[in-house]
Symmetry: C4
Subunit: 258 residues, 4 copies
Amino acid sequence: MLSDTRIHELAQVELKEPVLIQGLPGLGYVGKVAVDYFIEKLKPVKMAELYSSYLLFPDGNLGINISEDGTYSLPRYEFYGYGEKDPNVILLTGDAQPSVTGQYEVASIVLDFAQRFGCKAVYTMGGYGTRSGNDVGAVYAVVGEAVLGERLKKMGAKLAKGGAVTGAAGVILGIGRQRSLTCAGLLGATTGAYPDLEAARAVIQMLTGLVSIPVDLKELDTEIEDMRKKMERFRHAEVEESKEGEEKPEEGKDRYIT
Amino acid sequence: MLSDTRIHELAQVELKEPVLIQGLPGLGYVGKVAVDYFIEKLKPVKMAELYSSYLLFPDGNLGINISEDGTYSLPRYEFYGYGEKDPNVILLTGDAQPSVTGQYEVASIVLDFAQRFGCKAVYTMGGYGTRSGNDVGAVYAVVGEAVLGERLKKMGAKLAKGGAVTGAAGVILGIGRQRSLTCAGLLGATTGAYPDLEAARAVIQMLTGLVSIPVDLKELDTEIEDMRKKMERFRHAEVEESKEGEEKPEEGKDRYIT
Amino acid sequence: MLSDTRIHELAQVELKEPVLIQGLPGLGYVGKVAVDYFIEKLKPVKMAELYSSYLLFPDGNLGINISEDGTYSLPRYEFYGYGEKDPNVILLTGDAQPSVTGQYEVASIVLDFAQRFGCKAVYTMGGYGTRSGNDVGAVYAVVGEAVLGERLKKMGAKLAKGGAVTGAAGVILGIGRQRSLTCAGLLGATTGAYPDLEAARAVIQMLTGLVSIPVDLKELDTEIEDMRKKMERFRHAEVEESKEGEEKPEEGKDRYIT
Amino acid sequence: MLSDTRIHELAQVELKEPVLIQGLPGLGYVGKVAVDYFIEKLKPVKMAELYSSYLLFPDGNLGINISEDGTYSLPRYEFYGYGEKDPNVILLTGDAQPSVTGQYEVASIVLDFAQRFGCKAVYTMGGYGTRSGNDVGAVYAVVGEAVLGERLKKMGAKLAKGGAVTGAAGVILGIGRQRSLTCAGLLGATTGAYPDLEAARAVIQMLTGLVSIPVDLKELDTEIEDMRKKMERFRHAEVEESKEGEEKPEEGKDRYIT
C-alpha cells in the first residue's frame, strides 16, 4: 500500500510551545463551529493541509468536495498557526473525519506535526449527546489528569463519568495522553441540532478561559445571534429557490455525483 | 501485504505531453461510453493494463469476468495511446472502479504512468445525477482552476456548485490538482438510464471542443442513433432467447458463479 | 501490519511439472467434494499447510475450527503432492476462502508455491449456479485460451459465456493466466444442494479426462451412491440425537462459541 | 500504514516459564470475570499495556473509554505478572477485542511478549453459548493435543466436538498451537446472562485445578454470591437514579459521545 497520510506545508510560522486546538465535523457540528470562530477572531496563518486516503465523506465514500466556483478539493485537515500573543496556538479543523482504520495514523501524524513546534497540550472540542434540551449550554469534560478535571469543574464544566468519546476528538486525546501531553476534551451538550450554536458558544467560553486564548468574547453573544440569523435566512432562501423553475445557476449545488 | 496495484505494459508508444482522458463505469455509464467512442474513432494503440486487488465488481466481490468465448480476465484498467496528431492522448478505460480503500493508490499509479510521458492535463468524464429529464444534454463541470471553469462556461457547460464527485472520476482530479496538473471533470446530466447515450454525446462534444481532440463529430448524431438501435435490437433478441428451450449455447451467459 | 499469509511445509515430495488442482468450499460444495475424492483415490502426501489472517469463516469471523476430539486448528489450505505417475499433481483444498482483501495475496502465494515445482497448469473446480434441475450434471468451463475451450467442448463441457467467477476459484485463474500458465475452471451446474454430489461427479469425470489423472472411475457411480447414503444416514442420526435428553456427548457439536 | 500494535512496558517482573492466562470481554463476560478474580486474589504486578488500532469498541467504532473521574484511555490489553509461587503466571485482560483484521497481529504480539519470559502454555477462558439453563456450570474444553483433552475430561470438563471458537479466545490458541505451546480453551456454558458469574466460577475452578494456580478457592462460593449481590444493588441504584431530576452528578455516565 502506498503511504496514505501526508502533510503539505504551506507557510512557515514561528510558534513557541503552541497548544493544539482541534474542532472537526461531528455531533451538532459543535467542534467545527467553535474552531471556525477562533480562526475568524485570531486571523491565524494557514500553515499546512493534511490529506489522507482515510479521510472519507460521512457516508463512507471517497471523492472531492466542490466549491461554489466549481473548483474542488479532496477531504482534508487544515492547520492554522497563531504566534502573535501567548499562548501560541495551532488550530486544526477540516471537512472530514478519518475512517476507523485510519484514526490512529491520522492522529499520530497530527501530533507529530504539532510536537515539532514544541506543543505540550491538546484540547479537542465536540458535542455531547443529550436528550434533554435543559442540558444544552453545559460543557462536559474528559481529561488526561484528574487535576485538570478539578480545575475545569471549578470553571463550571461537568466531568463525563463513564461512556466513551468516539472518533477523532477521542483518539487524539488517547494518543496525546500516551505521549504525556496535557489533554482535555470539551464537549458541549447538544441534542444534535445542526449546527448547535448554543453548544458551540459554551465550549468557546470554557476553552477561552482555560487556555487564555487572546480573543475578546464581549461580542460573542451578538455574533452567535448573527450567525443564527444568517443561517435562518440562508435556509429560507434555499426553500424559495427550490420552488423556482429550471436553468437557474444553483442547479449544480449540493448533489452527489459519480 | 503484497504490492497490490501493478501496470503491465504491452506496447511502446511515442507520446508528447499527452492529455489523460478517463472514462470508467459509473452513473449512466456516461464516461465509459464516451471514452469507448474516442477509442473507436482514434484507433489508438493499447499500451498497458493495470491490475489491482482493489478493482472489485460493483457488488464488492472479486473474481474474473468471462468473455463470449469462455476466456476471462481479472477486472482491469486499459491504457490506449494516440500520438499521430496534436494533442497526443492517453485514453483510460476499464471494467471496474477501485474500492474506497484503493482509490488513492490506483489514481496515484495512473498519474505516475501518464506523467512519465509528460502528461500535464487530466480530464475525467462521468455522469451527473439529475431527476429532471429536461436537464439531460447539459454538461456540468468541476475544475482545478476557476479560469478553466470560465472557459467551459463560455463553451456551454454549467459549473457544479457544491456537492461532491465520488469515486475514481473525482479522486484522480483531486490528486492531479495536488500535482499541479490542469484538471477538469465533465459530467453529463443523466437520470441514470443505462447506458445514457444522450449524456455521453454531450460530454463527447464538450471535451472534443475543449481539448481539440482530432475526431470528426459530423456523424456523431447518426452513430449515437445507430448505437441506440443496436442496443434495442440486442435487448429484443435477449428477450426472445429467454423464451426458448434448454441446451442453447447462450445458457452460460451473464450469471454469477462461485 | 505483520506478514499475513504463510506456508508451513510438512514434507518434501519430489514432483515434476505438477498440475495444480484446486477445490475449496463454495457453491454446492462441488469443488471441495471433488478434490476430496481425488485425495482419497490418489493417496497423495500432505506437503504443506497455508495459514492466513485472510482465511475467514463464511460469516466473516475469524477463529478456530474444532474437531471431533476437541482439538482445533485455524482455517487453512492444505497442499497434497502426488508424484508416482504422470502427470504429477498438487491437490489444494481447505476449509475456508480468503476475504476479498486477501484473494490476490493468497492466490499469488499458492501459485508461487506450485511454480517452485515447475507447475505449468492450474485447474479449479467449483459450482455453477443454475435454477434448472435439468442442467445438473452439465459442466461449464472458463478457459485461459480459446483453444482449450474447444477441446473441453469436444469432451462435453459447455463454455460459460459472460458473467463472472467470484472467489478463490476465479482469482487464481486470473493470476495464473497473467503468469502464462494453462488455466481452466470446471464448474458443475448445481442448484446449490449441499453437498451436490451429482455436480461433483460430473466435474470429477471431466477433469480426469482432461488431465489424465491416474484414478479409476469405474466405481465412481457406486461410490457417489455410497456417499449419498452415508450422508442421509448421518443426517437421520443427527435428527434422532437432537430428540434425546441432556448430558449426551454430542452436546459440544457444531456450535459457535466466543 | 503506521505500525499498529505496540506494547508499553510498565514494570520489570522476574518470571520463570509463566503460563499465559487470557480473559477478555465476550459472551457472558465469563473470561473477563474469571481473570479479574485471579488478578484480585494473586495481586500480581501490572507489567505492560498493549495498544492497537485494531482494538475497537463492540460496535466497531474507535475512541476512548471514560472513567468515573473523567480521565480516559484508549482500548487496551493489560498484562499482569505473578512470580511469587509456582507456576508463574501472566494474566492478560483488557476492555476490547481486536477487529477481525487485527486478530492475527494482536495474538502474535501477545505471544511474542509471553514467550520472552519462557512461556510454554496458553489458557484462554470464555463463554460457551447454550440455550439450556441446565448446562450452566459445565465447562467445555478445546485442546491443542488430545491427551490434554483426556486429562480435562477426567477433571469433569466436556470436550467441544465441532463448531468453532471465534474471536481472541480462539485465535491465540490457534497461533499458540502453531508455535508448539501447550494450549487449551476453557469455555463456561452460558445462556449469555451478563455477567454470568455461575459460568465464571466453573471456569475458575477448572483452571485452578488444571494449572495449580496458588489461589484459595475456599471462599469462592461466598465471593461469587457477594459479587452477585453487589451487582444487584448496583442495578437497583441505577434504576433509582434514573428516576431523579436533573443536574445530578451521574449525568455524564455511560453515554457515547462524538
